[in-house]
Amino acid sequence: MNQPTLNIENLQLGFKSHVGMSKVLHGISLNIRKGERVALVGESGSGKSVTARIILGLLQTLPTARISGVLEFEGRDLTKLSAKQRHALRGTEMSMIFQDPTSALNPVYTIAVQFTEVLRRRQPKLKKLLAFEQAAAALRQVAIDEPERVLNSYSFQLSGGMNQRVMIAMALINNPTLLIADEPGTALDVSVQAQTLDLMHKLVQEHQTSVLFISHNLGVVRDFADRVYVIYKGRIVEEGATQLLFSNPQHPYTQALMSAVPRITGGGIPNIPDVSDRYSDPAYIHPASGGEL
């Protein structure tokens, strides 16, 4: 099938408050093909995480949120699903990895209990022992050598890197079509982050999982993604294949963002304005990337 795993067109989001409407997303269009790793890069407050939450169907339940636009997941119209149907998608067809693994895992249950819960979303009648075995196998895939010990531990007994690997294993265990990773390495040490992302990269490639990778870290995005969307203040400002976009950024905002990243080759810290009218220039779409589906 040629349809994209995820297709978003002109997605708008506003929050209604007593002073009126505050618009957060001003019409975002984005698509992810099967097995493709797509990054959404932007600064805090640009609308990255709310986009992820809309895809998961978490913001739709918020009474103050006003959402419009096309949201299609494997050809299904997500906006037409009931809350129950959306719930059924989460953890099975779509899953998510959060920034801080230690707070994403429940500290009062062992890892094994949480794994069983996730597995039973797909296989409701799964026996406990069998779930334990499947979870152990999944943990071995993320290079955890003693899965039994980890499964019997609580999240606070494990290191951050270990917890994040548990999260990755958990997110992929039901073989989702789409994985949303929201700043998955930010809370980790650089070296652990590199290792974790390597692992994630390998696994999603094996399983042909489509990934929406949300990050503010351009370096991490360059290593991980096939294609990049740059978002600024609720608008996509640039889109293109990773290589192309990094070697030849076209939009003033992307250019500013790139030059602000300190280089390990030195050269000092450039003085770049953090606000400029030019950052709101129309979006630049690199050729030979977006159009063909």
């Binding site: 600064e43 805090s44 290191s159 951050g160 890197g161 270990m162 040490d189 650089v190 070296s191 652990v192 982050q193 590199a194 290792q195 503010h216 870290n217 351009l218 370096g219 991490v220 360059r222 290593d223 990094f246 070697s247 500013a256 963002l257 790139m258 602000a260 990243v261 300190p262 280089r263 390990i264 080759t265 030195g266 050269g267 000092g268 810290i269 450039p270 003085n271 770049i272 953090d274």
Partner: protein
């Protein structure tokens, strides 16, 4: 004026953890030169923050001495000593009191150190804000009404309020967006030149270190594994661990990839082996 502003001599710090003893800092000796920016890098648990806390006088070393301007720092420091060494923390949202207006946060520093009279203090607050690139009008706001970068500027202003000589910067920009980070780093550079400050810059972000530090001290498990000029660290690091750290930096240009790979590959210990060992020893 002497060259060494702060000297750590055989510092060890152990914490009792039940029956065990954890050696957070293990026999570290290090001189910090006046006017330099010394970066302290290492992963979480390497002892960076413990070291900072000892320099600030929050903990006392278990053994060893810290000399400031050639005299040993006493266990209880008097006001002039506390004034001289100041801290900027990672997250200004938690280091600034949310119920205090910016002016009040800054005034507190001036009050504690009895700097000037009432009118002078008010004037000083305006000057400080201007110095860090804020407007005098912003002093009447609460931290919640400022952006992350502006809040960090307030935290820097507060650390400078009492004519400090040495600033301990504990991950001062890691909570900030990259464009804002660049501006705050530039501000720190300007202030250092203008006020002849000495910085101890604690971070895990080596790309920032490359562009702001003069020398780099690499810590691992409480030990100082390498201390060198920044150019040396990024061209031919002595220690395999440093190479491993550099090899893990996410970079954005092809030139950096080449540099990173050339450093990462010439060690006998590959990055992943190194990390594997580290996870096991935890």
């Amino acid at each position: 004026m002497n060259k060494v502003i702060l000297s750590l001599q055989n510092i060890t710090k152990t914490f009792a953890l039940g029956a065990h003893e954890v050696r957070a800092i293990d026999d570290v000796s290090l001189d910090i030169h006046r006017g330099e920016c010394l970066a302290i890098v290492g992963e979480s648990g390497s002892g960076k923050s413990t070291l900072a806390n000892m320099i600030l006088g929050i903990f006392e070393p278990t053994s060893g001495e810290i000399l400031f301007n050639n005299s040993v720092l006493p266990a209880v420091r008097d006001l002039p000593l506390r004034r001289a060494i100041q801290l900027v923390q990672q997250n200004p949202l938690s280091s600034l009191n949310p119920r205090r207006k910016i002016a009040a946060s800054l005034r507190l520093a001036l009050d504690v150190h009895s700097i000037g009279d009432k009118n002078e203090r008010q004037q000083k607050i305006g000057e400080l804000l201007e110095e860090v690139g804020l407007t005098a009008e912003q002093q009447n706001r609460f931290p919640s009404a400022l952006s992350g970068g502006q809040r960090q500027r307030v935290a820097i202003a507060r650390a400078l309020a009492c004519q400090s000589e040495l600033l301990v910067l504990d991950e001062p920009t890691s909570a900030l967006d990259v464009l804002v980070q660049a501006r705050v780093l530039n501000l720190l550079n300007e202030l250092r030149a203008k006020r002849q400050l000495t910085y101890i810059f604690i971070t895990h972000d080596l790309s920032v270190v490359r562009n702001i530090a003069d020398r780099v001290a690499v810590f691992r498990h409480g030990k100082l594994v390498e201390l060198n000029k920044v150019e040396k660290i990024f061209s031919s690091p002595d220690h395999a661990y440093t190479r491993g750290l550099i090899a893990a930096i996410p970079v954005v240009t092809q030139d950096e990839v080449l540099l990173r790979d050339s450093l990462g590959n010439d060690g006998s210990t590959g990055n992943h082996n190194l990390l594997g060992n580290k996870e096991e020893t935890r």
